[in-house]
C-alpha cells in the first residue's frame, strides 16, 4: 500500500440558506484554498473527484456545473459520485493506490435549502416498496430511535445530552451552524417533530462545501500543514429494507472499522457522521469506542450537516485535529442512506 496523506482541508461556513452564492460560487474559493494550502501546483494535481446529488439541485447532470469552479482547461481527469464527498475521497484514494496519480482534489457540496430536504430524501429509497409510502428522512430516523428506546439502549434524556454536548463543543468551531449552551430539561419540554424525535435530535439543514487534497509520493509534505496519513479506509453497506435490519446496531460500520484497522493502534478521538442524536451511540458501539474517547471535537453533524459533504468534512476535521497537534491518531466516519445504511471508516495518523 502507498502512503497517502491528507495534504490540506478547506470548507465554507455552513449556513441555513445560502441565497447569495451558487454552488459554483461557493466552490471556487474553497477548492482554490485547498489546492494552494496543499503546496501542489494546480496543473500537477492528477485527479479530481467530487460528491453531490442532482436531486438537491433538482436538475439532471447538475454536478457537471461544479466543474466550472475548477476551470477545466487544459483538460483534467475528473469523476463524480452521487454520494457524500467521503466516497469521492475513497475513489481518489483507490486511484492513488493503483499508482495512476500522486495527488487528487476531492470535494463535496450541497445546497439543501433549495428544496424540502426531508422529502427530497424519499427519492433515495427503493421506488417499489418504500418510496411510494412517502417515507421522509426524519420519520425513518424516528423508527430507528424508537427501536433503540424500546431496547433500553438509550433514553430521550441521553439523546438530548448528545445534542447539547455536540453543540456546546461546536462553539469553538467557527464554521459550525448550530452552536451554544442548551439545557436538557428545556429541550425535552419541546414538542416532537416525528415522535420520538424532537428538533434537537435532528441535524440542521446546511448549505456549504468542503474540499480535501490527497497526496502520495513526492507530493507529500509540500503544504502549509503537517501531512496526516490515511492508515486504513473501508466502506460497507447494509440492506436498504429497514425491516430486514436490526436498527439498533450497525454491522456495516463494525465491518468497515475492522477492515480499516481502527484498533491497530490507540483511538484518541473520533469524528462521527451521526446526523441524528441517537445514531452516535450506535456508531460508538459498532466501532468499539470506549468511554473517554473524544467524540466529535468539531461538534459533528448535529452542529452542521451539509448534505453530500458532511462525511468528507468529518475526514477533513479529523485530519485538521491531528495536523494541529491535538492528537496523534483518530478515526473519521461517514454515512449515507436511511438509518446508517452505508458507512465509511477512515483511520488517520500523524507523522
Amino acid at each position: 500500500m502507498r502512503d497517502v496523506a491528507i495534504a490540506s482541508f478547506a470548507q465554507t461556513k455552513y449556513v441555513r440558506n445560502q441565497i447569495h452564492e451558487t454552488e459554483v460560487d461557493m466552490l471556487i474559493p474553497i477548492t482554490r484554498e485547498a489546492i494552494e494550502r496543499s503546496g501542489i501546483p494546480k496543473p500537477e494535481i492528477g485527479f479530481t473527484c467530487h460528491g453531490s446529488s442532482d436531486y438537491m439541485a433538482g436538475q439532471s447532470f447538475a454536478f457537471v456545473g461544479a466543474v466550472d469552479a475548477l476551470g477545466a482547461f487544459p483538460p483534467i481527469a475528473e469523476s463524480h459520485v452521487e454520494m457524500d464527498g467521503a466516497w469521492a475521497l475513497y475513489e481518489a484514494w483507490v486511484k492513488i493506490q493503483c499508482g495512476e496519480v500522486d495527488s487528487a482534489l476531492v470535494f463535496g457540496f450541497g445546497r439543501a435549502s433549495m428544496g424540502k430536504l426531508r422529502e427530497t430524501m424519499n427519492l433515495q429509497l427503493d421506488p417499489y416498496t418504500m418510496g411510494p409510502l412517502g417515507l421522509d428522512a426524519i420519520s425513518m430516523a424516528a423508527l430507528q430511535a424508537r427501536a433503540l428506546l424500546d431496547a433500553g439502549k438509550i433514553s430521550e434524556e441521553q439523546m438530548a445530552e448528545i445534542a447539547v454536548r455536540n453543540r456546546r463543543v461546536a462553539k469553538d468551531n467557527p464554521v459550525a451552524q448550530v452552536t451554544g449552551d442548551f439545557e436538557v430539561a428545556k429541550l425535552l419540554a419541546e414538542p416532537y417533530i416525528v415522535s420520538p424525535l424532537r428538533k434537537h435530535d435532528c441535524p440542521p439543514i446546511s448549505d456549504g462545501v468542503s474540499a480535501v487534497v490527497l497526496a502520495a509520493g513526492d507530493a507529500i509534505g509540500r503544504g502549509d500543514s503537517k501531512p496526516v496519513f490515511i492508515r486504513g479506509i473501508d466502506h460497507r453497506i447494509d440492506s436498504h429494507q429497514l425491516g430486514s435490519r436490526d436498527l439498533t446496531v450497525s454491522p456495516s460500520t463494525k465491518l468497515a472499522g475492522e477492515k480499516a484497522g481502527v484498533h491497530a493502534g490507540p483511538v484518541e478521538f473520533a469524528e462521527l457522521h451521526a446526523p441524528f442524536s441517537h445514531q452516535e451511540p450506535i456508531l460508538c458501539e459498532a466501532l468499539g469506542l470506549e468511554e473517554g474517547v473524544l467524540i466529535n471535537p468539531s461538534g459533528g453533524a448535529l452542529a452542521a450537516n451539509p448534505m453530500m459533504t458532511a462525511g468528507l468534512t468529518r475526514i477533513g476535521e479529523a485530519a485538521s485535529h491531528i495536523a494541529a497537534g491535538r492528537a496523534g491518531r483518530g478515526i473519521a466516519h461517514a454515512t449515507s442512506g436511511p438509518c446508517l445504511q452505508q458507512n465509511l471508516v477512515c483511520v488517520l495518523e500523524g507523522e
Binding site: D136, D150, Y192, Q241
Partner: protein, 152 residues
C-alpha cells in the same frame, strides 16, 4: 380557416415504465389479489418484502413462497403528527415496521390509529385493503389495530 390556431397538448414528464423483475412482480401481483407473499431464504427465513438475495449471506433466495399476514406485530413506529404532502394519509398516522405472521422480517408501512396514544410497540395490526387494488404497495391503505388483538 387562416386564423385557426393549431394546438396540441404537451405534458413534460419522464414517461417510462419499470420492469419489476421476477421477485417483486410476484409480490405485487399478490397484493393485487389481496395476498401478502414472502420468499424463503436457503436458511429458511421468510423475507417480506421478498428479495432476490438473502441480505445476510448474499445467496440467492429459493423458489419457496408462502402467504403471510394479513395480521402482524408492530416492531417499531414513528408518529407523524403533521403529515407532509408526500405522506399517504392527510391526518396524523404512524410509519411502522410490521412483522407479519409467518414472516421473519418486517414490512415498512403505515398504521392508522387516529391518535398516538393508541400506538404501542408489540401491538397487533391487520392490513386494510384499498377498494381497488392495482399491484402496488399502497394496495394496503394502512394497517389498523386488530380488534381484540392486544399486544404480542
Amino acid at each position: 380557416m387562416a386564423d385557426e390556431l393549431l394546438s396540441a397538448p404537451h405534458v413534460l414528464e419522464y414517461d417510462y415504465r419499470r420492469s419489476l423483475g421476477d421477485t417483486l412482480s410476484r409480490f405485487f401481483t399478490g397484493l393485487r389479489d389481496r395476498e401478502i407473499l414472502g420468499v424463503k431464504t436457503k436458511a429458511g427465513r421468510v423475507l417480506v418484502p421478498p428479495a432476490e438475495y438473502d441480505p445476510e449471506t448474499g445467496e440467492a433466495t429459493t423458489e419457496d413462497w408462502s402467504a403471510v399476514g394479513p395480521e402482524g406485530v408492530v416492531k417499531s413506529w414513528a408518529w407523524v403528527a403533521e403529515p407532509l404532502g408526500r405522506h399517504p394519509l392527510d391526518r396524523p398516522f404512524a410509519f411502522a415496521l410490521i412483522q407479519l405472521d409467518g414472516a421473519d422480517t418486517a414490512l415498512t408501512h403505515v398504521v392508522d390509529t387516529g391518535d398516538e396514544s393508541a400506538m404501542q410497540t408489540g401491538m397487533r395490526v391487520t392490513a386494510k385493503w384499498a377498494d381497488e387494488t392495482v399491484g402496488a404497495i399502497r394496495d394496503i391503505v394502512a394497517f389498523v389495530p386488530t380488534p381484540g388483538g392486544g399486544s404480542a
